[in-house]
Symmetry: C2
Subunit: 290 residues, 2 copies
């Protein structure tokens, strides 16, 4: 029997697309706020003995946590067989160790919370960084999906003579895969982070790629500082305006506008977070796993 | 050894007052937001083997939950002996049963979450309603403090010839105690709720209290509809403008302004939630328990 697909507020369109792709039922639920800011939940679908999928991308996670937790608990109280969380963007992956004494390792605490109220997790290109896999922090089964094939296919179809540019050493493994599948060369920059919003990049020579279109790829575009810094360097080379591709369109504050104004050709993202730059659809990637 | 008193954001002034009242150390912590909305926590105080108190009133609870949870987890990771949550206003107490099938009993889910990461709870006049005590939902020890003595003492000191008015049958037990300690008569209204923001009240005859000052008392002033409705009725009686006293100054949307404009004499609340109407200080009530 197919799962019932529930959308948390803001995820309606992706949930609908996933449900359509696998011909599954869309979950009916009322989620609203009381005048004092508390959340009211009422599940209308019959979830008894059914597999349930909750779709909730976790950008801006703090205010989403209780509604998500309440919905899962309510569905379980109604006798559902299992609850799987599909979270295309998984937050709290960055603080994965104690850098300065006294710091909270929020990635562990967050994982422990999630693991306590859903039975399975599916996410897309999480920012694993110093961890090898999700089960170092998540005690529930988790599945990681990758957008690299979708991105390389997009590049092959839409960008002539691309040269891929990865922002830092960490990105090498990932960018090299996309480059290979896109039949394109790549280079990797060296990034130094001076704070949340302040980064500098060291640029290798790209003389021989002068006639290529630079394609900057990163997993998360948040403050966009790295990309903006890179675009600035590229401007001096007289190459074509670069295409910026990100998996997760976090775009904090006015970073999207700043990136647009920096001299890029195009900004392309996957729809793991709903945003006007979304051009690469992840629906089928998720649908295949359900 | 005395506990260390930590304030969650927005609770600094109450935490400081409590620490001063019991000559305890104030906890030093950095809690800030990353550009993408995630929370960063760093505890600066040495909490090892110490009793810890977290002060966090839970109005607008959704966005406060993760920072509170992270702080408690971080403090425990640093070897604290115990973590006690002082939450002057405890949220998610109202949805305490399934009224219509499919509803989530958020008061239970919320209690289970809190019980999972702190060791003890202290709160003030929680809206227990259909429950007799906190341990029906909270699995950790909890302590309930009451403001009735503070309120009756305020009434005795500041209001001449008061007649206390309780909004509904539930309030009788509580209003009668305040009235007795304030040496004042009281009456109880009958309230019918037609929705989150829509209530009507039935008014008994108060002819014989014509020269008294009406004092409306309620535990939570949220939409203030009950009070506004009552003030309207009172206007017709030619009594003095009523004094409205609430424990918890929730005041959703523009309800404070509406109540002010309805023809009240004064609006008085306890500082369980920081608000300009706060006149009754709960510091000592809490300090006595620590």
């Amino acid at each position: 029997m197919k799962p019932i697909i529930f959308a948390l507020p803001g995820n309606e369109s992706l949930a609908k697309n996933i449900a359509n792709a696998i011909h599954a039922e869309e979950g009916q639920v009322i989620i609203r706020e009381f005048p004092d800011g508390e959340t009211y939940i009422r599940v209308l679908s019959d979830v008894k003995n059914r597999k349930i999928v909750l779709v909730c991308t976790l950008i801006d996670p703090n205010k989403k946590m209780l509604p998500l937790y309440f919905l899962s608990k309510t569905i379980k109280s109604l006798g559902a067989m299992s609850v799987c969380l599909v979270t295309p963007y998984l937050s709290y992956m960055r603080q994965d160790k104690v850098f300065i004494s006294g710091e909270g390792v929020t990635s562990e605490y967050f994982a422990s919370l999630i693991s306590g109220f859903v039975d399975k997790l599916i996410t897309i290109d999480p920012h694993l960084h110093r961890r090898k896999n999700m089960n170092e922090i998540y005690t529930i089964p988790s599945e990681i999906l990758h957008t690299s094939l979708l991105i390389s296919s997009y590049i092959r179809k839409h960008i002539k003579d691309p040269i891929l540019i990865g922002p830092d050493v960490e990105s090498k493994q990932w960018v090299s895969v996309i480059a290979e599948k896109a039949n394109a060369p790549f280079i990797i920059l060296e990034k130094t982070r001076h704070g949340d919003k302040n980064v500098s990049v060291t640029f290798p020579s790209i003389e021989k790629f002068k006639d290529h279109t630079p394609v900057l790829v990163d997993d998360i575009i948040s403050t966009a500082r790295t990309m903006i810094e890179t675009v600035k360097h590229l401007k001096k080379t007289n190459m074509k305006p670069p295409v910026c591709i990100g998996v997760h369109a976090v775009f904090s504050d006015n970073s999207y506008e700043s990136l647009k104004d920096s001299g890029v050709g195009q900004i392309i993202t996957c729809n793991t977070i709903e945003h006007e730059s979304n051009k690469i659809d992840i629906t089928k990637l998720i649908a295949k796993k359900l």
